[in-house]
Amino acid sequence: MGTFLASRVMTDIFGGLATGAVVALIALSLVIIWQSTHVLNFAQGAMGMFATFVGMNLVFHGLNYWLCLVLSVVTGMVLGGVTERVLIRPLYGKPEINPIVVMIGFLGVIEAVIASIWTTNITMLPSPFSQIYYQSAGHTILVSPFIFYEVAVVAAVVIAIALLFRRTNLGLQMRAAALAPEVSRLLGVRVGRLLTLGWILSTGVGTLAAVVVSTGQVLAPTNMDGIFVSAFIAAAVGGLESPLGAIVAGLAIGLTEQFILDFWSTSIAPLSGVIVLVIGLSLRPQGLFTKHVSRRV
């Protein structure tokens, strides 16, 4: 019994980390946009799904999975850049509810557009890695090659982004543009372009997450809704400003959800985000990893 419980807990930890990794990735993409433009992109999940539909649908026409993945991510990046230029740029300096409402409207439009272009049959996007769980000595451990793929993608992206921001001049300029746009402009930094770049980067990451989520799953316009909510909560609990906070909180939500799923109830699982949010924000209302609160009056 003890070993059974131990293997069940281990299984949950693996599964939770896999879910959490994707949540963390979306949370990270939200933080990137928040840092650069102080907009909370409610359409992030849907935009990623749109790009996924554009690229990954070609799998069904015989194209290679990896080529489609690249196509999806590029589509996501273009969509992000255009969105920032057309929808977000005119709203800088307006009340904060305005961009929120606009992005919510955009969310509705994208989901409707996806549903109207692609027939919404239940079609499963094939996975390049087996989703069959490993067996060991007659016991099933709920880890599959696919889960390793999921975690590896997320880890690679997180490391790449960390390197970009910490080690490159472009990253330095992006940070500066987000932290102090006016000063940056005075130093010759092309802030407008960098904000667009922030969106491009963010939707690229978001699309990658959407592709990973949809792989081996039914491709549906609403695939990302639940994950987006979790990711949003992760970003908020992490303090919205902190990439590290978003990642940690994302993993925490994944684990919480997995354990609730296993030990409590499948239907309660969507509540795990709320639970983490309430606990996290009660402990530190300004976010777990935020050093100081700056409030615009």
Binding site: T119, I122, Q131, Y133, T140, L142, T222, S267
Partner: protein, 455 residues
């Protein structure tokens, strides 16, 4: 300031006057002669809310087959000189998502039913489909005294005293569960049995039937999925349920699911290399609707003669009706192209049977068509339909069919392709009255002859 106030007051006064005027006008408008709604000298208008798009769009064939029967009857002079006008309104299985093109809000079934009743003035609803969908409007139909006949669902909800105008059609989920349980007990003795049911009355009634049939299912193996899974694309509860059942070494799994979910569940199980003996409710086992090779060898219940039986007179008659209909190609695309070309399927037989039954009830009324009359006819008519078990209603039983024959889905000769039909394994069985206490009876019903006026 004060002048503004006076003017406002004047506005309000004139508004009140207008109010009274409109009130009296409104009362004058609604005067008219009393007659039976939907019935004229040469027509009877009936309607149904059915999924034509969205998650359960595969069932569109059911009401199309019903309509084809009416078209045939109309072409041959109608019923006692009256043509049947059949209005099929798309309600997307009452779930306005996933490809739903009905264009109606959050309560599609209610909105479409209101349209049928208040705008189209239907005489009755015939063959409206879906448990949850009909549940949401039976109160409305009852309130407005509209008969709701041959509901395409096997829920026990249609058999309630407070709804005297409501009659179910499909094999009762409970009776079906009970008969399936008997097969499992007879053929898979001692096996751990799990069940994955749709999280509404369909799943609940099905489970109740299995348990009434004497099957013991551990409570942790009684699992449900949300019918919204197909809408949200989030199938985590199904994955979780399969993981549990696999962990418990369940070798028999009963599915109370609609066809797309049957297909999904089987695919998901296959992905985790889990292959129990599937036992699938007739709701979700039609090979052409499931369209998945994994369905092969599943056990199901078939209330009708096997669809591939080309000698059964009803099947011959039905083939004629289907192919002769002017809308045939639009309504039955599977009959004209794809893997199931030229084949009758369960949906067609089902829908046509409802059409036949309504024509028989209407026929028995003669010239005098009233709502009270049709309700009475429902309980007195001896229906002759393709079904393997008797269809009969009484004052206390509005359930509809109560059985069928156990059938096995025959694998396709190419195992990578979906199976095409089910083979009946024996005689039809059915229960009568209260499913939980009444025994299972083996049907002696021979093929009922097709009434002369339908030929």
């Amino acid at each position: 300031m004060s002048r503004v106030r006076i003017r406002r007051a004047a506005t309000l006064a004139s508004a009140s006057a207008l109010t009274l005027g409109m009130l009296s006008a409104g009362l004058a408008v609604s005067a008219g002669a009393a007659s039976t709604p939907g019935v004229t000298a040469h027509t009877v208008t009936i309607g149904a809310t059915v999924p034509l798009s969205g998650i359960a769009a595969g069932y569109a064939e059911v009401s199309a087959a019903t309509a084809a029967v009416f078209d045939y009857v109309n072409a041959h002079g109608g019923v006692n000189g009256r043509r049947i006008i059949y209005l099929r309104k798309d309600d997307c299985y009452n779930i306005n998502a996933l490809g739903c093109t009905a264009g109606v809000g959050n309560t599609p079934t209610l909105t479409q039913t209101q349209t049928l009743v208040t705008q189209d003035h239907v005489f009755a609803e015939v063959g409206s489909l879906g448990t949850a969908a009909q549940d949401s409007v039976i109160g409305y139909l009852n309130q407005n005294k509209v008969p709701d006949l041959f509901v395409s669902s096997g829920s026990s909800d249609w058999n309630r005293a407070q709804y005297p105008l409501l009659f179910g059609y499909q094999t009762s989920y409970q009776a079906e569960g009970k008969i399936l349980a008997r097969w499992i007990l007879g053929h898979k003795k001692g096996a751990v049995v799990g069940v994955i049911g749709q999280g509404d009355d369909f799943g609940a009634n099905g489970l109740a039937g299995l348990l009434a049939g004497g099957l013991s299912i551990a409570s942790k193996d009684q699992l449900t999925y949300s019918p919204l899974d197909g809408v949200t694309g989030n199938f985590s509860d199904i994955t979780q349920a399969l993981t549990t059942l696999k962990g418990d070494n369940a070798t028999v799994v009963v599915l109370d699911s609609i066809p797309p979910l049957t297909s999904y569940i089987m695919a998901a199980a296959n992905k985790m290399s889990y292959s129990p003996q599937w036992v699938v409710s007739s709701v979700g086992s039609d090979p052409s609707s499931v369209n998945n090779p994994l369905l092969a060898n599943a056990i199901t219940l078939d209330p009708y003669p096997a669809a591939n039986n080309r000698t059964n007179p009803w099947n011959i008659w039905l083939r004629k009706i289907i192919t002769k209909d002017k809308n045939s190609r639009a309504w039955f695309p599977n009959f004209y192209s794809g893997a199931f070309k030229g084949q009758l399927d369960g949906n067609m037989v089902y829908g046509a049977s409802e059409g036949v039954a309504f024509v028989e009830a209407l026929h028995s009324l003669g010239k005098n068509v009233t709502r009270a009359g049709i309700v009475k006819a429902m309980m007195t008519t001896h229906f002759a339909t393709p079904s393997l078990t008797p269809l009969s209603y009484s004052r206390t039983n509005h359930q509809g069919l109560q059985g069928g024959a156990i059938a096995r889905i025959v694998p396709n000769s190419d195992p990578t392709q979906p199976p095409h039909f089910a083979a009946l394994l024996g005689n039809a069985e059915y229960t009568t009255g209260d499913y939980s206490n009444s025994p299972i009876i083996v049907s002696k019903q021979k093929i009922t002859p097709i009434p002369g006026y339908l030929k």
